[in-house]
Symmetry: C3
Subunit: 344 residues, 3 copies
């Protein structure tokens, strides 16, 4: 595929400075790009590198120094770069239909232009939207629904009656709708509480490899539109996750916790159950959250503190032995003073 700089600018809603007729066929980093490639400057810190790039064109924010290069000015060069990556390198999945080695129950409803790979198992009562891609070994239990343009990668499992939105992506090994961890103590052991609810993933949700989302005990475990989960994440039963959240790898969220919109939980964070986390909260990696968190703030540590307070406490922790020694030294000096004064 080749495109002129002007064509790309039109596509991105950008403005050309320089030669709009220059032709490129792909992307490359600033340092490695040749004349047939377009590159991008996301970080103004590296603006001087534009002078030396061999690229045929540069994506940059408005007003940057072009050093005589062909430039497309865009509001968000990083986003524009991502969009051109898609344009140049991502081919639409071919429509494969239903492989003869797939097992599709007679009662399943399939949309148009689907691709169902060998070894996929689709139970009765499943509904799959248009243009979905269901990879090998995927198992969809009875009554599952999958929205249009969703991709489910190999060996992912969606248990009975759960609902996956449009344009979702489940990476390999994802488990949706496993039983919540709910048991009633019966004196000696534990009686399993039936988990009869479901999981709902709204549109544009993506779930990383081998992540697990438990079905609700009675109602719905919900992940809001646009939220992205990384690999090996655990969402317990009845969680309510807002829209456009970023839940990084190995995070665990306990049962019935409610997370707002635009929340970021960094890697390995743990959140206790029955809490409420406000909108736009950011929680630092490995933090443990034992209580609800107010919106629009950052937190870190176990138990989690406001981020700056945690940084200051940790700086002291690293030097606690000195602090202890200082206190002992003070004690000695005071004892000497007391002795002196007592003897006066």
């Amino acid at each position: 595929m080749t495109k002129t700089v002007q064509e790309l600018a039109d596509l991105l809603g950008g403005v050309v400075r320089g030669n709009g007729n220059h032709v490129v066929n792909g992307l490359a980093p600033l340092e490695a790009a040749t004349a047939d490639k377009i590159t991008f400057l996301a970080n103004p810190k590296y603006a001087a590198k534009v002078a030396d790039t061999g690229a045929g064109a540069v994506l940059m924010a408005a007003g940057g120094e072009s050093y005589g290069r062909n430039v497309i000015e865009v509001a968000n060069p990083y986003l524009a770069f991502a969009k051109l990556l898609t344009l140049f390198y991502v081919q639409p999945h071919p429509v494969l239909g239903v492989a003869p080695e797939a097992s599709v129950a007679p009662g399943a409803k399939l949309g148009t232009a689907v691709s169902i790979y060998p070894g996929a198992i689709i139970a009765d009562g499943v509904t799959i939207g248009d243009r979905c891609v269901i990879h090998p070994g995927v198992v969809l239990y009875q009554g599952v629904t999958v929205g249009d343009d969703t991709v489910i990668h190999a060996n992912a499992v969606v248990r009975e009656r759960c609902r996956i939105g449009k344009r979702c992506v489940l990476q390999p090994g994802v488990v949706i709708g496993s039983d919540g961890f709910g048991y009633a103590p019966d004196g000696s052991g534990y009686y399993p509480i039936p988990q009869i609810g479901i999981v709902v993933l709204e549109d544009d949700v993506e779930v990383g490899a081998n992540s697990c989302i438990d079905r609700a005990a009675l109602e719905v475990t919900r992940v809001g539109r646009g939220t992205k989960l990384d690999n090996l994440v655990q969402l317990a039963h009845n969680c309510q996750i807002g829209e456009d959240c970023m839940i990084v790898s190995q995070v665990g969220i306990s049962g019935s916790t409610k997370i707002g919109n635009h929340v970021t939980l960094a890697g390995q964070v743990g959140v206790a159950g029955h809490l409420s986390i406000g909108d736009n909260v950011m929680v630092g990696a490995q933090s443990g959250v034992p209580g609800s968190l107010a919106a629009n703030a950052g937190y870190s540590g176990t138990p989690a503190l406001p981020h700056k307070q945690w940084l200051k406490s940790m700086a002291v922790v690293a030097h606690l032995p000195e602090l202890k020694k200082n206190v002992s030294a003070l004690e000695k000096r005071i004892a000497e003073l007391e002795a002196k004064l007592g003897s006066q």
Copy 2:
């Protein structure tokens, strides 16, 4: 399904106050229940809500105020609620036999009334008990045994010779019997030590989605009767887990550690290898356990401390910068005192 209040009381071993002939057809929460539903009061804190519920009957502990409602007095209302959930909402799995799209080796022995779904792979020498349900994509390696009434969900794997008890549940993606992480340093790299032992899950064990239990190096990794594991848990080789334990999501237990009975490990806890954890221990979320723990106590933190001690230490950690400032102020005041006294 409909039941009279008296029928339910008989089933639960409870005592009716009010109209035992009243008929209900399901359960609902206190606030939402209508006359055809039974509800439950597990927490005496909410006793006043009984006055306002529209429910046809209420499960509660003996001696509670009935506000004129039909009541079933039971010893454990939460357990009774769980049992009625099962009664009203859980249907026994239909007996499907062996799907033609399953792959069952000729030497496998299947009990009566089993359900083997399409895409399940059962190797030679496997023994499966009566009424087991083996979901799509499950792989049972050679020589595995599965006890009666056990359910293995989609894409779970049990490697060679491991033994699963009766009434066990493996959620999707569980791995039982993977090789333990054992290597002998050979000077430059690592020589893999053959892991020739097995895993034994005793009766009534449940394992959460994508959890992993490694086979022993030589003998047995064992999970005791009634113990429940949540999702994404890691049990290393040669672990011995007692009975009726609760191992919450993302816990990791290192090799050869022995855990007593009725132990609770909260989410993301890590336990080092070759330790002994006593009966009835509770370890708080995200704690790291570097040494053995005495029975009948609670612990938290990394490294784990007795729970109350940890709480007190963490309260100070949150205010360490002030403590440090206080010490500096004291130092100054002492220096002044010393100067004064020196000059006298």
Copy 3:
């Protein structure tokens, strides 16, 4: 299988003391071994047990007291034990060929003496080396290459174009080549950045059950020769892991981090992105690594400190409430001194 002590010594490059013609048929621990078994003494602490063992021979380091037993002196008794375990108990996998219930695309290239189990799904353009074993439910996407003598266990997934070296082992449920967690904020939500790179596992890499290694955004996520990953490990996109590393269970390494050779990360460690960890570093369990770490040292804690410093700080943390009390007591004594002096 039976072997003389001399035959075993020749195999191990060891030296016989005692009767080289004595015949053994397997291994057993010091305490349990009988005359037809060989045992080993890895830890000199237990040397006295050699006097009491019933074993027919003992592997030990040169110069140990033999107590009249037949002995094979070897440089590394633990390694020798591991090698004899392999000799006596590990049978080469029989060559099964391609099961009729496997799905192998016509364009896939298979080496000689492979075993492809029922339910394995091999896409077009896949290349599989000689003597590989591909277990049930494994999914190899288009263009994957697998080196000679590699074993891929049930339900593992390798996504498009990733390359697995020789003599690698993937435990069940492993995911190689899932999309990296990369999104460009677009003002309200997140635009997925195409992840068009791959994963390369070099020779002799082993990956534990349900671990995940994300494909690079543009180039290669690489795991160096001989490195071993335990279960439920997360490697994010663009990580570069050196040779002969030990990455223990539930470790998470963020994107673009570079790890040297012979690095050990203990269980549940988290490492931030874009860092560099030097050769021979050891990081203690559950540590959180926010910055690069110099080579040849040990670190612990969150945020990670040099190991000894962390130990000292944690010893103080456990007694912070006393420290705080001490400071308050000093404050009082100083106030009294000040009052006294002021009144003079």
